[in-house]
């Protein structure tokens, strides 16, 4: 089985230097990072290979999750690579809450490219040193293989709508 990966590309209507700043200045990063409805707090941010980004995401229901990312490559304003994972409040690596089979660590690679006046970002997310269970879990969850389980959810939505 090849390593499952999640990729996403997006074009941002801003010069590359500004987009880079938004990703690498913690006071800016905290304003947009995280799923909709969450609020990010950057507890530590040391932008250099081996440096740590320790953060907390507060959800609207009052729950909080910590994460720890360890930078691997910092090449301004072109490339950022970090090892991504959950953590506790002290910054120790932990497994994903509720999902022990979610990969312990994911390699996140970001490329920043000029596209005229705009900037394109390519993001790649893939399990690192993962067990086959973790890879299968990630593949199923992110829907990167055979349409994943999004099909099941569409059917579920249809069923719930009928019910």
């Amino acid at each position: 089985m090849t390593t499952p990966r999640f990729t996403i590309s997006r074009r941002f209507a801003a010069p590359r230097a500004r987009v880079w700043d938004a990703w690498t200045r913690p006071e800016q990063l905290a304003l947009w990072f995280g799923p909709k409805g969450t609020s990010a707090t950057i507890l530590a941010f040391d932008l250099r290979p081996g440096g740590i980004w320790h953060g907390r995401l507060d959800a609207p229901d009052g729950s909080a999750m910590h994460s720890k990312f360890v930078f691997r490559e910092v090449d301004p304003p072109s490339k950022l690579v970090w090892i991504h994972g959950f953590a506790d409040a002290e910054g120790n690596r932990t497994r994903a809450p509720f999902a022990p089979d979610f990969p312990l660590e994911l390699l996140t690679t970001l490329h920043f490219m000029d596209e005229g006046e705009a900037t394109r970002i390519d993001l790649n997310w893939e399990p690192i040193d993962a067990t086959s269970e973790e890879e299968a879990f990630f593949a199923g969850m992110m829907g990167s293989m055979e349409g994943g389980w999004s099909g099941s959810f569409e059917q579920l939505d249809a069923l719930l709508a009928e019910g």
Binding site: F6, F33, A99, D101, L156, L159
Partner: protein
């Protein structure tokens, strides 16, 4: 329970079984035919889906038709959506942030 559900859903055959059951209940025999795998293999998959709370079976022993338990999928989906949408959501928010700060509100 969420772990069991994610593991159950990671398998393409089991997802296909769920897709079939979404159309209506079916017996082991009825499920076996289109998949072209042995009855014990189908039974194993059904056991995993049942343990994960994703399907349920009727009482009529051998024939007992299986059906989907939609509510079993809801909790898994809710938790998952946050993590799965991390990058989509963040990119949307970054887009809005860049648009806001471009309108003269200088970057903080």
């Amino acid at each position: 329970m969420l772990d069991r559900q994610f593991t159950a859903l990671a398998d393409p055959t089991r997802r296909a079984i769920l897709a079939r059951l979404a159309l209506g209940e079916a017996t082991v025999g009825e499920l076996q035919r289109p998949f072209g795998i042995s009855q014990p293999a189908i039974s194993r998959h059904l056991k995993v889906l049942e343990a994960a709370g994703l399907i349920e079976g009727g009482r009529a022993a051998q024939a007992r038709p299986r059906r989907l338990k939609p509510e079993g999928l809801v909790a898994a989906r809710d938790w998952l959506d946050g993590l799965r949408n991390l990058w989509n959501d963040s990119f949307d928010r970054l887009d809005a942030f860049l648009a806001d700060t471009a309108k003269g509100n200088d970057t903080p």
